[in-house]
């Protein structure tokens, strides 16, 4: 069944419960990821991209909760699964890697042990088999001398090595979906490129779909086939990654694209300095009425301040939410 999406999010709403008041941190978010596809979610800090990811794996904790919409993984609604079955999905069919390779590994346990634990936990292997598989997993993320490295503790490894170990752990059980939440933000640029390359190759080899979350539009567009841009809890534009660079449609996306430094092309475009988006992201408790981007938008008119824009379908499966989209 290649036709059915791996994960399908429909009209997701996540509330932040503050005493008796509830504010929507994420609202009306819909997207789908097919098997083996790479999908990017881009946005500033606090726009709701990370809590969307947490909702996907069923790990939202109070004060946050899902208050509307559905998340279907492989045809089944995640919210309706029991806690035990949700847990069985995590790490096994949906895995996640994090921004901080420094803190995401247990400091008192050898890395091989931490990889092996995944096989014991999800595949019911014995520790002896699992230890062997851990060496193979470490070899697959191109850590040199894996049979010696499995005995190392996290503090003995560099940041790049640790992120490799994290990838080995995440991909250990051959998940269908890998969620990468800012996987390279804490790394050097050169290491960053290696890690991204590694992640992309491994996932392509195994047919693992990737949901990449980042504030770095350039990086995401480089890795992913499709990109969704989030602003203040809503998806404002979703396009193929080539399209989003060539012809960004939403003013916010345009702002993002124009604020990216690009080698060589800037002079060709006749611009001498990078442009920035004026203003700041609104606080979650006082999102403006209408289009949430309107206070910062150069094209804003009266309708933007009163009515939230509907989805407009663009060609090639793209969509945008703006009254005045380009």
């Amino acid at each position: 069944m290649t036709g059915s999406p791996l994960i399908e999010v429909e009209d997701l709403r996540i509330d932040l419960n503050h005493g008796s008041s509830r504010v929507a941190a994420v609202e009306g978010v819909s997207f789908r990821i097919d098997r083996g596809e790479t999908f990017g979610l881009v946005g500033e800090s606090g726009c709701g991209k990370s809590i969307t990811a947490l909702a996907l794996i069923g790990l939202l904790r109070p004060p946050l909760s899902i208050s509307g919409g559905t998340i279907r993984f492989d045809g089944r609604e995640i919210q309706s699964l029991s806690a035990a079955r949700q847990r069985a999905l995590r790490g096994n069919r949906i895995a996640m890697i994090f921004q901080e390779p420094m803190t995401a590994l247990n400091p008192v346990s050898p890395v091989g042990r931490q990889i092996a634990e995944m096989f014991v936990l999800h595949k019911g292997k014995s520790w002896r088999e699992a230890d062997q598989l851990a060496v193979e997993a470490l070899a697959s993320v191109r850590v040199p001398a894996p049979e010696r490295r499995v005995k190392d503790y996290p503090h003995q490894l560099s940041g790049g090595m640790r992120q490799r170990v994290m990838i080995a752990i995440a991909l250990a059980c051959g998940p269908d979906l890998l969620i990468a939440d800012e996987p390279t933000t804490a790394l050097d640029v050169t290491v960053q490129a290696e890690i991204i390359e590694l992640m992309r190759n491994l996932c392509a080899e195994r047919g693992t779909a990737v949901l990449m979350i980042s504030h770095d539009l350039g990086l995401v567009a480089n890795v992913c086939r499709r990109v969704a841009v989030m602003y203040a809890g809503r998806i404002v534009e979703e396009r193929g990654s080539a399209d989003i660079f060539r012809a960004p449609s939403h003013p916010y996306t345009q702002g993002l694209v124009n604020s990216l430094p690009r080698l060589g092309s800037r002079a060709a475009l006749g611009r001498t300095r990078l442009t920035e988006i004026a203003g700041v992201v609104p606080a979650i408790t006082d999102f403006p009425a209408g289009c949430r981007f309107n206070p910062r938008c150069a094209h804003a008119t009266e309708i933007c301040r009163t009515a939230a824009p509907e989805t407009t379908w663009l060609g090639a499966g793209g969509l945008v939410r703006c009254h005045h989209h380009a």
């Binding site: 794996i57 790990l59 847990r87 069985a88 999905l89 995590r90 790490g91 096994n92 895995a95 996640m96 994090f98 901080e100 420094m102 803190t103 995401a104 590994l105 247990n106 400091p107 008192v108 346990s109 634990e117 995944m118 936990l121 999800h122 994290m166 752990i169 995440a170």
Partner: protein, 273 residues
């Protein structure tokens, strides 16, 4: 690493006590209970009777050596029970929070409010004297500090990246507590445990002194002190040697605890560097 005097002296004293307890049958000169001989009652320490003899003519040296077994068994086993209870309650309370945390906190405060020796006395009074009831009484009354510590560690550890990561990777709560939280809080728990052993040895002595510990004629350091009370002016060696044994063991455990804290506590380590 710098040589740490307290660690070495403490470890040596504790090791000595353990070796003496283990090798008691070979180290003792006479049977501590049966070899009573009124012909040589209340002999002062000499080359024949290293620590002297008591009113029944039993060799004090042999009784102190055998007494190590009981004192250390009580110290180690009851502290193990305390650690298991304290870590179990504190770790789960800190990790889960909510009503369970409130409940455990209340229980801990209750335990801290009642002097533990009095509580142990009450339990002993119900269970009757003897080694088993001594272990139970001391094992149930001194877990509050371990519990507090485990709870505080769990609270700070549960927001660590690797604990979050474990949750995302499908670890169950129990597995997270055992594989992620417990190993990371083990240092301070061991330190508290070592110090707790010292106080358990003292509590055993106190309860035995009050006649609620090990039944005579079996020797424990506390019960020996208790028996020696009457003759403290006429035969001071009866109380000096068991007292010295308690003192050295507890001192050793406290020094060991301090030394371990210096090694295991990352904060004190970074301060030194």
């Amino acid at each position: 690493m710098k040589l740490r005097a307290n660690l070495i002296i403490g470890g040596a004293l504790f090791a000595l006590a353990i070796v003496v307890g283990l090798l008691a049958p070979w180290l003792a000169h006479t049977d501590p209970v049966l070899d009573a001989n009124l012909m040589n009652a209340e002999e002062a320490p000499s080359w024949t009777w290293w620590f002297g003899t008591d009113a029944q003519g039993r060799d004090i040296y042999s009784r102190v050596v055998y007494g190590a077994r009981i004192s250390l068994t009580v110290g180690i086993v009851s502290q193990l029970i305390n650690s298991v209870i304290g870590v179990g309650l504190g770790l789960s309370a800190g990790y889960w929070g909510g009503w369970w945390d409130d409940f455990v906190n209340g229980l801990t405060n209750l335990m801290l409010a009642i002097p533990s020796l009095i509580f142990a006395l009450a339990i002993m009074a119900v269970l009757g004297p003897g080694l088993t009831s001594l272990l139970i009484a001391l094992g149930l009354t001194n877990w509050s500090f371990t519990c507090r510590l485990a709870r505080a560690s769990a609270l700070s550890l549960r927001s660590q990246g690797y604990v979050q990561a474990a949750r995302v990777l499908g670890y169950g709560d129990l597995r997270i507590m055992i594989t992620q939280l417990l190993p990371n809080m083990l240092g301070p728990i061991i330190v508290i445990g070592t110090l707790g052993m010292g106080s358990a040895v003292l509590s055993e002595a106190a309860l035995s002194f009050l006649g609620l510990g090990v039944r005579p004629p079996f020797p424990s350091w506390g019960s020996m002190l208790s028996e020696a009370r009457e003759q403290i002016t006429t035969a001071p060696w009866l109380s000096v040697f068991p007292g010295l044994a308690i003192f050295l063991t507890v001192l050793g455990l406290n020094l060991l605890g301090d030394g371990l804290r210096d090694i295991l506590d990352p904060q004190s380590r970074s301060r030194r560097i």
